[in-house]
Symmetry: none
Subunit: 221 residues, 2 copies
């Protein structure tokens, strides 16, 4: 565009990407697209937003290099540009979890709303797995699951949970986890399972902490 100094120009490009991530609706879109390609109106339904609105958000994300679009009949399927977009989201979430007191406050409010959401400690989980008392549920997208997960866990991404309920033994308690202590997906999973009468709790934190604590990690070849 301009013949400005390239340093500034590069920072502007980086800022473009960050700006595209700087909107709650777009982040929610990314989380959905993290599960796979989706059409505009399906996303609009999931978010409960007007289609035109979602379309505009997706287009601004495409301009920023976050997603790509491909026409399929009368649908347009958007998908994440690659896994680096999820990585960027994850790193932003990490900053927020560590440094925004508000995040902590919101999560605590969530706890209170759901009376018995006592998380399961790592050691407890190991014991209960050994005793065959629990189903361990990894609700992250498959690519993240493939790169490392709690041994014996089954992978049902949050978006697929409803359609794959039959894979879960209703006689056992479910322990769900995802990316981190305040990762929303595991909250949602627990809420969804309880709504269907399945006993469920969250692991006290996510896979990064599990790994950091020196616990075993299984990798899908």
């Amino acid at each position: 565009m301009s013949i400005r100094n390239p340093k500034q120009a590069l920072y502007e490009q980086f800022a473009t990407v960050a700006k595209a991530l700087g909107n709650p609706q777009r982040l929610e879109l990314i989380e959905h697209l993290g599960q796979g390609p989706r059409s505009v109106d399906l996303l609009a339904m999931k978010l409960g937003l007007p289609i035109a609105n979602v379309s505009q958000h997706l287009q601004s994300m495409r301009r920023a290099g976050l997603v790509s679009a491909e026409r399929d009949g009368k649908f347009v399927n958007y998908r994440l540009a690659d896994e680096s977009v999820l990585a960027a989201f994850a790193s932003i979430r990490t900053v927020a979890e560590r440094h925004l007191a508000e995040v902590d406050r919101i999560v605590r409010g969530y706890f209170d709303a759901r009376d018995d959401m006592e998380p399961v400690a790592r050691e407890d989980l190991v014991q209960r797995m050994r005793d065959g008392l629990v189903t361990v549920l990894d609700v992250r997208p498959p690519d993240e699951f493939a790169r490392g997960h709690v041994p014996g866990a089954i992978n049902v991404p949050l978006g697929d949970l409803e359609s794959r309920l039959q894979e879960i033994d209703p006689a056992l308690e479910v322990v769900a986890y995802c990316r981190g202590p305040w990762c929303v997906m595991s909250f949602e999973a627990v809420a969804a399972l309880r709504a269907r009468g399945i006993s469920a709790r969250r692991l006290e934190d996510g896979l990064p902490e599990w790994k950091a604590a020196g616990m075993p990690v299984e990798i899908t070849a």
Copy 2:
């Protein structure tokens, strides 16, 4: 604050962080703060911006949890909240590098032949230093050099390069670095050296990344 659903509220918090990263000036501030704590007016001088402007940017970054401030006499020193902020910056940069053609265009504007500007990996540099094959050149200003640099590096700020060419052994290859992977100064240094027939390449990234990778750092007393 609001009695909205907590999922939305969390996304808003994450968006707050991304939004704070979504401005070229603030990204440049982060790159400077990646080297260590800095006062407001020092940063203002480095960026060539009004102090009030920089102060406001820093405050918005503090509200987003990216930096913290600490008073020291009549100065206020800002520092990055922790290394996760640099990680977030890096991941955004990765997305931009991979998916924004404009980034590629800007970088090519600096170097005609991309194959020539293959950067040197950290491990390679260590090996080549051990073998006495390279001169490591830190092209940042002296104050930044003094607060930490690659052991054995010589400090020749970009502006002094022409007048201090005799300090560089033309028999060895030069590896230049500065503040980060896209810090322009090292690009310019490499171009200047090559124009004078000295073999030169860039280190793959800058000092903050070097430090973050657990590599040794030398500090001038």
